[in-house]
Symmetry: C2
Subunit: 313 residues, 2 copies
């Protein structure tokens, strides 16, 4: 079968062959792609699993992001979930729904981005499924391992709240793109391509983090998940939230308080965690608030206007 | 938050709450739904994983199948992949993309079907993701365990080919529905709701099956995967392929050789495997052919016209 210019030219088996060719291998993969299921080994007798669905027009736009960037991002949002448990991702499966008229070049570039991002943590693609669909649909499931998984529900009053990674960059980039701007380049690129602080997850676990989550919906919203699961209140200190120069620039240009990008913007995939106040924070982690008795998330003691992103609204 | 009549009324968190409420638990689930990832234990230090993507209008139609049936089917096609490795499914994750206007009743019935089908093998839903999309998109990943995984590539010349489950029923049902018929009821229901022979997978593994696959694309097509992976030829004996009465009825009504439904129809999720000729076939397995030197799949020594289903074609 010849591989032509579009997915329809290549056909299902051509598409699978193209995708499989780019995949690496690893010691824990006993049976890899191409059978009814992959067969994987684990070290400690347990594993972590998480899944995310990305839909064209909702999670990415082909005119805003290249196929390579979409591939990187599709892997990143999933790998980040394993980091947020204090774990290291090992394996990915990918369900891929694509229109027949999609150029095969898009598929190749997407796949290259996916494999490359996974390789940053040593993870490999172990299986998948391809099918025809009207919109591009990307369903990634990630599996990984953690010595000591860190849940959302373990924060205690008196704990310190800290984050690793970047806050507000992707949100500022999204705001700029939405208004038709293509700069500042740093924040626009941050929206297209998150750089989750993968290693900070296991570091926080080793340091004894009491709870952790990755910031996908916005800092306030995701800390709200920790507060609810732990039965505590969280107060952030705005003086500890450093506003990066390009984020400040977007705020100024759009007449928006740049703190909004840090507090409500998603898609940077920072990690936020709580630690006992006796714990020395690992390198790369910055204190931004405290865990208190009560409920809800406040900034300098007050509720912050606005809410985090919910789908269907 | 109030749960209204549509997905948009319920909102993302209402939708997640609704789905989570129906989920069971199991001993191997150390951390279940609601955190960044699930944490699962395994018995033998290894696990199986497979993923399938179902798209509205391609894999199911809301006017042909109820939400409950779609849920049952979405689980079944995935559970079948683990059976086809000789394993038992333990855990599922579900990525669920739905239009905001979808009635919440559809979601509830879908979820009920999904949970019920999974319970047939003792599997539970351990996590998922929901998002808005134009078409209904269902991405299921299944994880399970096998003492001795059976791959596609182990068939040897001289082996016996056998199947378990049903052949041709769903294909005949699809043909009937496509021509506007709603009967025979048995085959129409077989298309809506497969009944994969889950237990036959581990039984074949225990009996020493040399290769195995589930029939999702059609018997000839899927045996072609075994023949290619094993570097062998396979010959089916039509006299051993029993044509069930309702399948024969559809053939007669539509003027189609009913053998076509058995050889090229997918969606029954029968299991087909190869065994050494010395092996006594487990209960429920029926001999239908032989493994030979060479390549390709034949019926009574001849190539059979027609080809198996490929997406994008």
């Amino acid at each position: 079968m010849e591989t032509g210019d579009t997915v329809a030219d290549a056909g299902e088996f051509g598409l699978i062959a193209e995708i499989s060719a780019a995949q690496g291998t690893a010691e824990h993969v006993l049976i890899g792609p191409g059978d009814d299921a992959a067969h994987l080994s684990v070290v400690d007798g347990t594993y972590l699993v998480s899944t995310d669905l990305l839909i064209e027009g909702r999670h990415f736009r082909r005119d805003w992001s290249s196929a390579y960037e979409v591939g990187r991002k599709a892997a990143a949002v999933n790998l980040s979930d394993i980091a947020a448990m204090g774990g290291v991702a090992r394996s990915l499966t990918v369900g891929f729904g694509v229109p027949g008229i999609l150029p095969m070049g898009w598929v190749r570039d997407f796949n290259r981005g996916l494999v490359e991002e996974a390789s940053h943590v040593g993870a490999v693609i172990v299986g998948g499924d391809v099918t025809a669909s009207d919109q591009i649909v990307i369903a990634v499931t990630v599996m990984g391992e953690a010595h000591r998984p860190v849940i959302r529900g373990g924060a205690m009053p008196g704990d310190v709240v800290a984050f690793a990674g970047r806050l507000g960059w992707a949100g500022a980039g999204f705001a700029a793109l939405s208004r038709g701007f293509r700069s500042p380049k740093a924040v626009v690129e941050a929206h297209r391509l998150p750089h989750p602080p993968y290693a900070a997850g296991p570091q926080a676990s080793n340091a004894g983090a009491t709870s952790m989550i990755d910031v996908s919906d916005g800092l306030l919203g995701d800390l709200g998940h920790i507060a609810r699961a732990s039965g505590v209140a969280i107060n952030l200190e705005s003086g500890l939230l450093e506003i990066a120069a390009p984020v400040a620039t977007v705020g100024e240009a759009l007449g928006v308080d740049p703190l909004t990008f840090l507090l409500s913007g998603g898609d940077d995939y920072a990690l936020v965690a709580t630690f006992s106040s006796q714990t020395e924070l690992p390198t790369g982690w910055t204190r931004i608030g405290m865990v208190l008795d009560g409920e809800g998330v406040t900034v300098d003691g007050d509720t912050y206007p606005g809410e985090s992103h919910q789908h269907f609204r």
